[in-house]
Amino acid sequence: MTVSAATQPDTLLSLSGISLRIAGLQILSDVDLRIEPGRIVSLIGPNGAGKTTAFNIISGYMRPSAGSVHFLGQDITGRQPHEIAKLGLVRSFQRTNIFGNCTVFENLLTAFHMQGRSGLFGAIFRLPAFQREEQALQARTREMLCFLELEHRADDLAANLSYGEQRLLGVGIALAARPKLLLLDEPAAGLNPSETEDFKQMVRRVADSGITILLVEHDMHMVMSISDYIMVLNQGHRIADGGPADIQSDPEVIRAYLGSGLQRAEA
């Protein structure tokens, strides 16, 4: 199944047999995953299970010791992050990542990098094509600001935003890169329940606009209510996968991960 998954036409991303060892530690062992377009998939698991590491491997920041990653039918294992991003696979980060000394507007304008074409000469000589493109990118940046509801912050330095706004901006930067597949690493961490609710709505909107989402999140309330499909990692192994209902009742998942925290998520 795993090998053929890569070649199945309706597969956007597939991991087959991904393993990683660092300094004698087995961080990931033979992980398989298949994501179909248009869905919201979640990756959950206890701390240190290897979720962020899996993201790092998918997005090209780390190289697996074994296994391969296919995106849109291409083998992207070991490619550079920026090459992978070009193909339409973009991630956000567990720790907030923004361009701190740039304004919010500049942050987003920069994030539209891949939508631009103009080169060195166009820039130096300010050719008409260059000027047109600049205009267009600025317009799109303003649209994105509206989508994120950050218009009033446009000219503030990103570093001066509150934590929640920074997380939002982080996601906005990833969105601006126009991904086909968006990887979100704990986007709701540090948001309070009502903020999380708003955020969840935003993720829905993004998904509705045709972007496939792979989510890592410890907020079970959000995960269970939003995901089409969930995979659970524990100590680098996949211990379960399926729909939210299956996962919530899986005894192993409850033992290793959910604990009684689940009840609270359902409250």
Binding site: H82, N97, I98, Y163, D185
Partner: protein, 343 residues
């Protein structure tokens, strides 16, 4: 508005030789101007990509030596059967050769150096400049070593009605440097306010994030490295043909330091920074000369530098320009925003 004030400034600068035709003054300002061009090129790397090159004098020196050697001609025995003989070339050909050669080294160093970042990058660039200095010092057949390359021809220009004139007068040197400086400024200004300029800034601010949105970090750095080296090489070429002597000490660390001082004190990552910093620190020694002993001049120079940094940590231009709002607070690291090791 911005364009207008820019034009007025240029016009004012261009009229200096008419208003104040003292050859000594002009030569001092021209010399500062050459360093300013070098500082502008350094700012491209340091200010916009955030990569601190402390071997920048190497590109300056390579430009100077290339231009000088091509215009003087040389023959060296490379250990093959026949020696390599290069006939003297016209000065402008030599000058273009200098830019090409410096850019080439910029590319080479970029390839090597950008495998590493931060302090390691700094040390690679320092090492590069040191090695270049040793070559210039010891490859006596080519460079004359510590004996210096002398009698380098001046640049010349075809003037309608007068034919080809050698640009030896202090005023013509001044205008030449001014023209080159304006060109360098405009290139850099246009470059950084573009998609590729933003990419560089992105990578200065947060490399991990820049990669994630598809910015080809290495290629972007190399482009900037090549351009920066090319401009520095042009400054070196200008230097060679105006001072008309060049020795291995142009590779000395202190020249890089001078450029760094100009950029950071002026305000790195701002367009006007290197110009303002360059004017202050390029002309300061001249202003102080005659007032106090040379050592005291330098002590004042150092002290002024420290004071500027203590009171205007972002440099002069941002401090006065109000372009960027109060930075001290925002730069305080917020724990969540910076630790980029673990994305």
């Amino acid at each position: 508005m911005r364009r207008l004030s820019f034009l007025i400034t240029v016009a004012a600068l261009a009229s200096l030789p008419v208003l104040w035709p003292d050859p000594y003054l002009l030569s001092v300002v021209a010399a500062a101007g050459i360093m300013i061009i070098a500082a502008i090129s350094l700012n491209l790397l340091l200010g916009f990509t955030g990569q601190l090159s402390l071997g920048h004098a190497a590109f300056f020196g390579i430009g100077a030596y290339t231009s000088a050697l091509l215009s003087l001609g040389f023959d060296v025995d490379l250990g093959f059967s026949s020696p390599l003989v290069v006939e003297p070339k016209p000065v402008w050909v030599a000058f273009v050769g200098a830019i090409v050669m410096a850019s080439l080294f910029g590319w080479l160093l970029g390839k090597v150096a950008f495998r590493v970042r931060g302090a390691y990058f700094v040390i690679v660039t320092i090492s590069f400049a040191q090695v270049m200095r040793m070559v210039a010092l010891n490859w006596v057949d080519l460079t004359e070593g510590p004996m210096a390359l002398v009698s380098i021809p001046p640049l010349s220009l075809w003037v309608p009605g007068e034919g080809v004139v050698r640009l030896v007068s202090k005023a013509s040197t001044y205008w030449l440097v001014l023209a080159a400086g304006v060109l360098a400024y405009v290139i850099v200004a246009n470059l950084v306010r573009s998609r590729i300029g933003r990419a560089a800034i992105a990578l200065r601010e947060n490399e991990v994030l820049a990669k994630s949105i598809g910015i080809p970090v290495t290629r972007c750095l190399i482009v900037f490295s090549v351009l920066s080296a090319g401009i520095a090489g042009a400054a070196g070429g200008l230097y060679a043909h105006t001072v008309r002597i060049i020795d291995p000490d142009v590779f000395l660390f202190i020249y890089t330091i001078t450029m760094v001082i100009m950029v950071i004190a002026g305000g790195k990552g701002t367009l006007a920074g290197p110009v303002v910093g360059g004017l202050i620190f390029g002309l300061l020694p001249e202003v102080l000369r005659g007032v106090v002993a040379p050592e005291v001049q330098w002590i004042i120079y150092g002290a002024l530098m420290i004071l500027i940094l203590l009171f205007m940590p972002k440099g002069i231009v941002p401090a006065f320009g109000g372009l960027i709002k109060r930075h001290r607070i925002s730069l305080r690291r917020r724990p969540s925003a910076t630790q980029g090791v673990n994305p």
